[in-house]
Amino acid sequence: MTGKIKLATSAQVLAMAVAWLAACLGIDYTFNRHLWAGAVEAPPVSSPLSLRINHLCCTGCLDDVRKALEELPWLKDAPMKVRKGRLRTQEQADVAGPAGDYGGWLDIAVSSIGQIDFVALDQALRARGFVAAQMQFGGPRHFRLEGHVRHLCCGMCRDAAERMPELGKTRQIGRLRWLDSVTGERSSAKVVFHARYLEPNERIDVSELLGAMDEIGLPPFTLKVVVGAEQANLLPASPAGS
């Protein structure tokens, strides 16, 4: 028996829809506070290197990050600036309640981009108990990254390195989108990552690359930016991104 057929009124449907919308927003506000914190400020043009550190709560954190970075000769006197506002002091942070976002961006003005070594940077931070969730690099519109690995013994090792752009594609989450192709050189255990032309103010995230190299089992011990003409033997045979 179905009984008398009852239909929902427009007011009922509207009330339920609004209640559901409120529930969704409530979940969102409770669990995704960081998304309600407002838009991320753009990095200054003068800083080619920006680090996103997911735990940069107070001036104490910042001091330790600075100490970690200043151990690198090429960052000894480099100006570093927290992008958004002023950090709390340690005392203020001690009594502060839960926050939407505990991390922050650190913009670093590097005088010579050729000196940047992302592996050394990563290791220096980790040695002090920090990790960069993102390492954004930008400035030159065309460049490549040269990494040296300890192990590149055979053609298959080189092939594995050169297939790295496919790793980004299979994940389909927008990772390594900036990477055009990869070439490996067995004799010098060198892997060259050719970036696509960047739009003005566009940046790449080098931590994606470090993660991908770990995944394929070829962790580099140096990774540097190279701007300028390429040697003939390192020209990619075919664009891997095609």
């Binding site: 057929i5 009852k6 829809a17 209640a19 919308l21 969704c24 979940i27 995704n32």
Partner: protein
Amino acid sequence: MRARFRYGIGAGVLLLVPRLALAHERFIKHDMKRHLQDGFFLQQAGKPFGMDPNMVQIGLLVTLVLSGFFFVWFLRETLDEFLRYKVLASLRGGLQRGLHNLASFVMDKPVRSAWFYAAGEWSVILFLRSPALVLMYSATNDSLVMPSYPLEPSSALYFKFLQVFLAILILTQTLLPLCGAIVIGTWFYLFRWGPLVAIDALPVVTAGILYAMSPWQSHKLAITRLNAEQTRWVRIVLGFGFFVLGWAKIYNHDLTIGVADNYPQIMNDPLVGFFAFGTNPSLRRETWVMSFGLAEVMSGFMLMTGIFTRVWGGIMLWVFTKLMLVDFGWDEIPHIYPIGAVLAVITSNHLRAEFHPLERIERGMRSGAHVQRFALVAAASVAIAFLTVMPMLYALTFTDRSMLRQ
């Protein structure tokens, strides 16, 4: 004055501008291989109305095709009479019935056939339940409602369970009005992530409306037919969704060409090729985006206004099925939902158009004054088609797309 006018148009269109488009098309590969000539889509000095002549040509060709369809539609009763009394009258038996059913199908008239009725029942069942499949698919892929909106890991668990809960209600046909309200409420929530995300999920709202119009005792009923009012709203919302999506494809042109760069076979569509016919070959990618977007605008508008609903629904059915099975494959499996919606609409025997006043005037002029009747129909067809395409195309040339690249 001119600057203020431009500002006004720009500001109006900015209401449609997305705040966040990064989430869009996460599952379909869309990395652009080569940049488009952005100037093509924007105001250009020294050009008529500041618009690229190739853009104007495509717009006018689409206007022409739209006008043609409207013209034939408004005169379809005359065509039907001709068919019935001049062609079908001389035939007998199955051939006569078959041709009559075919003509009725094309002209959106009731098709009196047992198999068509059965297909309609099955289509409604598919349409009512297919959103549950999309919800389950989204839940297992860490997205909300449509794959274009990825969930934040910190809240993903809750939204995934809620989606599965909703899918169970839909599959068991329990409390359908509540399901409708949940679908509509979730769609409003998607605006939080920008209009483009909500636009992408707009077709799902058609199911929400149908659920909301169903009885509370839905679990005890076999719902196999849509009534005239339900059919109308499903058609309008579905058509509006594709109409807006078509404009969004032109506005967010980098995303559109990015998909084509990864699936170049979709650039060989005959209708889209027809619209781009005769344009500058050096602007092939730009004119393709324009033609592709306007083809969707056109089909969405036809569906929304109920003009040759079955013809345009049939074309959409073909396109969605091809995209799902041939071009994109598994990544486009959520298209099973609009396929269900379109099937439910085109197999309905309650189709009608949204131009009743014009149809009434045309009916009144049938007894005489043929020249005036044809002139009225032609002028109305051209005016509707022109207003559908050209003003919005012009307005889009004033929009700033820079935030789409952030």
